[in-house]
Amino acid sequence: MANFFLDNEDIQFLFKHIDLGELARIQEDDFIHTANANGDDYGPKNAADAVDNYRRILEIVGEVAAEVVAPNAEQVDNEGNTLNDDGTVTLHPLVQENLRRLTQADMMGFTLPRKYGGLNCPNLVYTMATEMISRADTSLMNMFGLQGIAETINAFANDEIKAEVLPKFSNGDVTGAMVLTEPDAGSDLQAVRLRAFQDDQGNWYLNGVKRFITNGCGEILLVLARSEPEISDGRGLSLFLAERSERVKVRHLEHKLGIHGSPTCELVFDNTPCLLIGERQRGLITYVMALMNGARVGIAAQSLGVAEAAYRLARTYAHTRCQFGGPIERLPAVAELVTNMKIDVEAGRALTYETSRVCDHENNNLRVLELGPPLEKEEEKRRKQLSRSLKRINGMLTPMSKYYCSEMSNRVAYDAIQVLGGSGYMKDYAAERYARDARITTIYEGTSQLQCVAAVRGVTSGSLDNWVVDHEAKTYDDPMLEGLKQKLIVARGQLNEAVAFVKTKPSSYLDLSGRRLVDTAIDILIGHLFLGQGAADDRKKRVARRFIERQLPVMKMNLEQILSGDMAAMEEYALIAGPVPAAG
């Protein structure tokens, strides 16, 4: 039977290479809970047991992805979902079938605690699963990958709401939506206008319109709304939970370039009853920010999945398609395309899995601090310090992963079409679907440009240095790896010179240089991750060498451009961009 976990050597390599036992220990509180303490009977006894569970879970996801989801993907893409006259949406029968199978496999409460029927998996394992689902059908990831909504409820809602709603997620009875965007509040969520108001008894209601809502037809809606009309910025927003009812209708289902299986809804709230999540005014600044961080790692995983699918198609085609008397993979230009695709997929995976690993450390540390029993003073101090440091590193790694993987998936999907040539342009192959599906990833959950704005702070404020320092201190037995490491150390020195230069310029120059700084930082980060992998595997050694040698000139180019201090894009905008075209 086909299996997207067992056929993927790189995921299996990382499963062994990354210390999942350590993640299991922090996820399961060192296994101090005796069996059945939480009213469940399927918890792991020790780290080895937990890691064995993770492997088995990924094997099941891999099988469902390959055997059920992937064969359905083309038809789902062709036919999409249906909007009904009464403002409800009927999911494509095959999407329903996919969700039913995932529910049968217990995969809809992936990271939720066992007391709510979840699997209590670390984020890293969920990221691996998300990638496999996305490889099978990128649009299904939008349903499978929305489990962050349940996580947000788990993190911030009161116990009553949690006990009521979370088991429904685990059982697959409900799916959720994060309801943030409005016609005039896209990237700038502080501008959200949808009103939340209370009646005399203190019950909350919602009124207004939301747009571009992924799975807005889901049963549980997490809605960002203005509860404090007198405060016009983000501090006037709170987060609410509304259940699907006649008081919230889908007015329009968007017609999109890709991810046709994922229903993108325009929602009308008409005095819709709802419940406040957590505290008033923390909706955007605390809860949605937390939700978005998880969702961004999810999009990175989604991007990895579609890129993996595109690479595999191109690799197979380059091997079987013969021109000029042999397979086209013997042509240097094609060979370079294919090897670049493969290296870039592995690069994105290295970065995203590292991000997920750090997220697991951050989340579990916070959980111990906020929900665990009181700690001794020294321990509390240590954990709080750790928390701040992890938060800073994650604040950099998360947007980097989302940015790098989404851009990479578009490049890989486009190049896959190129490898397939005319056939790739036709609907006969999935290459064009992969390219359409990949296109959204650089846009939603924050555009690439916004990810760079978020990530560059880490590059200029020392988070990069904090992360890199441990890796630079490693010594490699292999002289080639050691030599490559020295080159990365030099590159970081040059990057920091460029950062110092940018700091002497007006702040708009930082925004202008953001992408180049972030690109360079990402290349250094991934370079170190590849060196670590190379120390454990001979093939990875070659991947590390090729990646670093390929990127060194690119880093040099980026830094040179920064050091030029050129502000033409801002200062000469009107001149170079030309006049605004006349209407019509």
Binding site: N53, R56, V64, V68, A105
Partner: protein, 304 residues
Amino acid sequence: MAYDSIVCVKQVPDTANITAEAMKEDGTVNRAALPTIFNPEDLHALETALEVRDQYGGTVTVITMGPPKAADVLRDCLFRGADRAILLTDRKAAASDTLATSYILGQAIRTIGRYDLVFCGRQAIDGDTAQVGPQCAEKLGIPQVTYLEQFVSIHDRVARIRRNIGHGWEIVDVKLPAMITVIETANKPRPQAAKRVMKMKSARVPAEVAAEVKAAMPDASEEQLAAETKCRVDALKAAGLLIEQWDLAAINADLERCGLSGSPTKVHRIQAIVLTKEGYTDIPANETGIRQLVHELVVDRTWG
């Protein structure tokens, strides 16, 4: 109204992934060299039983006959939702042909007692006989429906079944209890449920426990081994993780009818056939070419 089902499953060599070591010098199957899998059509039989339970309530019990390793397929059944699993294992059952096997399975089903439906895969990929299900029905004296492709409904203890008849299908009604064999197109087997896997992955039959103990304590005496095995078996039982293991005595089987003595099948000759490529015919992609091809197919009776 709830219905109790029994599903007969088999662990088989994976004949789709044959390697050069698959056959011994004497032409018999080298089972040790072949990976084992869940017989594919038995998975569809299990799924049919689970769907009946989902819709009408009741229980699903799986049985398999084989060596202790066959407990693998029982665990798989438990992961997918079976309520109870039984391994029939006995050295005296070795070398059973389809007649002896169906006698043994029949005795086991009688021993289980109450049941409404017995499901089998149409056939196993190692023998391809499709005989065990129907023979088992004869042993039990119950009606049989073969080649199920859709379980339509049950009313008043009559099951309505759509069966494949090669050129199409027919719908038949059958009084319960009945034996039903299932084909691959009937359904898509559900995946293993992660929580059941996490809970039941350490489920074992006593014979597996004994083997594990022996491997863990190579220098121990027979008494020590027996004591440790008993200790572990009791612990598994207390945790609800002991898979039942029956021998031929447990099902009151007549030993004359089991194993070699109960198997009238005599292997006349084993032929090793090595398929070699024998050239090919180029069919021109035009009307004449196609007509010629059709003509040849009719002449050599591939068609018609």
